[in-house]
């Protein structure tokens, strides 16, 4: 009886090649001209924040410390993500203390107005 062929494990290099870059991830979020949304909104905010924290939306209730995220590059990443999506925010408005939850960041940046 033939045995089922075991699939080979992917190497770190192969996994890296399959990964989507941060810029590619955010590119489709740039709104088309004439997009009606005056604010960033919840869905875009979740994508930006989770990408910048390197985690999934299942951990939106966790803090930056719980996720092992350094708040300084995280804040810059969120700031760039909001700007790339066509909206604007004061970088000091983006919370990045170690006890800040991802959901708190989403709640703040979803209100970012169109640039």
């Amino acid at each position: 009886m033939p045995t089922k062929k075991k699939s080979a494990k992917l190497t770190p290099t192969q996994l890296s090649q399959m990964a989507m870059s941060h810029a590619d991830l955010l590119a489709p979020m740039t709104p088309p001209p004439g997009s009606p949304d005056p604010f960033l909104g919840h869905a875009r905010a979740v994508v930006i924040v989770c990408a910048c924290a390197g985690t999934s939306p299942t951990n939106l209730g966790r803090t930056l410390a719980q996720l092992g995220v350094n708040g300084i590059p995280f804040q810059k990443c969120v700031f760039n993500g909001v700007a790339q999506a066509g909206f604007t925010i004061d970088i000091d408005d983006i919370p990045n203390a170690t006890d800040t939850t991802l959901l708190q960041v989403v709640t703040v940046i979803q209100n970012a107005p169109r640039a």
Binding site: V46, L67, V69, G71, K76, V78
Partner: protein, 403 residues
Amino acid sequence: MDPNNRRHIIISFDHPPPAASAVDQKTYWIVYEKTAATPKTTATKRLEVDHVDASGLASPEKSIDLFLTEEIAGKPTIKEVDIVLANATDFITLPALTKPPDLGTGTSGAKGPVGAAKSRTDSDIYFNGSYAAVEGGPPVYNIDAFAGYMWALQKKDDFYGRVGIYGQATTKMSSTADPNSFQIYLDYQNVIGSGGWWGPFQGPIFNYRFLGTEFNKTANELNLTTSPMLTIPFRPVAPPPYLNSKISQWPAFNLIMGTEFVDVEKSVLAPTGVWHARGLLGANFATGYAPKSKGFDSITLTSSWQVRLPSAPEIFYDDKFAPITPTTGVKNTAATPPMLGTQPRHYLDTKLTYNYAAWGGVTFEHTYGSLPPAFSKTDQTFTIGLTFSLQQASFGRTSILRP
């Protein structure tokens, strides 16, 4: 609150989420808005729920959507929104929505200049004092403190980094010669690149302490410094989905490298008026567990190591060269002579903090090595002390400080 649709409220749940049948009826939800009727009076109005979409409970975000029959008031009249869940078995009052981000009216969190910090890691104003009794010798007092603030340089969508001023003091009242270290500096900080992830690494942080001083307690060692530094945050393993909420700090490192250019202005032994360089390498690590039960808020382990590699002879004190008092036969470490050398100057500081509440606790600390400018070597030292901390609410803490 959905700022693009003020009839839409998004409610997120922690893991595990409730059953859909417990939240999916519009009659389960009671929503009130409070608005400023006049400058001195508040009007309260109930808003009816049109329908509930609970399909989000099956998504990773675990959320539901409430759609109201009318819009929630906007700026400037809206003051508060209160939401209550009342189903057949539960009556739960959700935290009131009062801040502009919660109310969908702005991004400013409207926090004060400082708030309570939970650890040294997220502190911008920090004080730690400790005491250790020494048999047959004077007690050892330690003070570890820093304070500072960073301001953002931003013009619309262009961010140019932050500038700030920071001061640090590490005072070891031990019996070695003069082991105090004070540092004050102006700092520029920016993140290189987008700030996103490169595998397990986050965007590196560039710091330039463009003007600083180092001095000891008696100010007989005084250095001017200018120092570019690079900090690379490193998370070896990504946290899993549905991370346990009792993990307070996922294991993470900051790798540090840079150069300190030093002008010795005043010294009891080292040549003065000549610039030289020190290579600086280091790393810090933090992890923690927080059951948040009564009397056991959390336990945290932090550790930092740094080594300075002087390019020219610098002063140091090592109590193994202390003279022996003839009458007692005991080393007189207070009379340790200053010496010059180019040997590496390590500094290791490991802390285990047990917090009985979020704002305070007990710290066990191990320290070894020496800090500029006097480089008074602290032998293996174990201390115990109390901790109290505050943090800057706008989160500008420079990354080069130890955790």
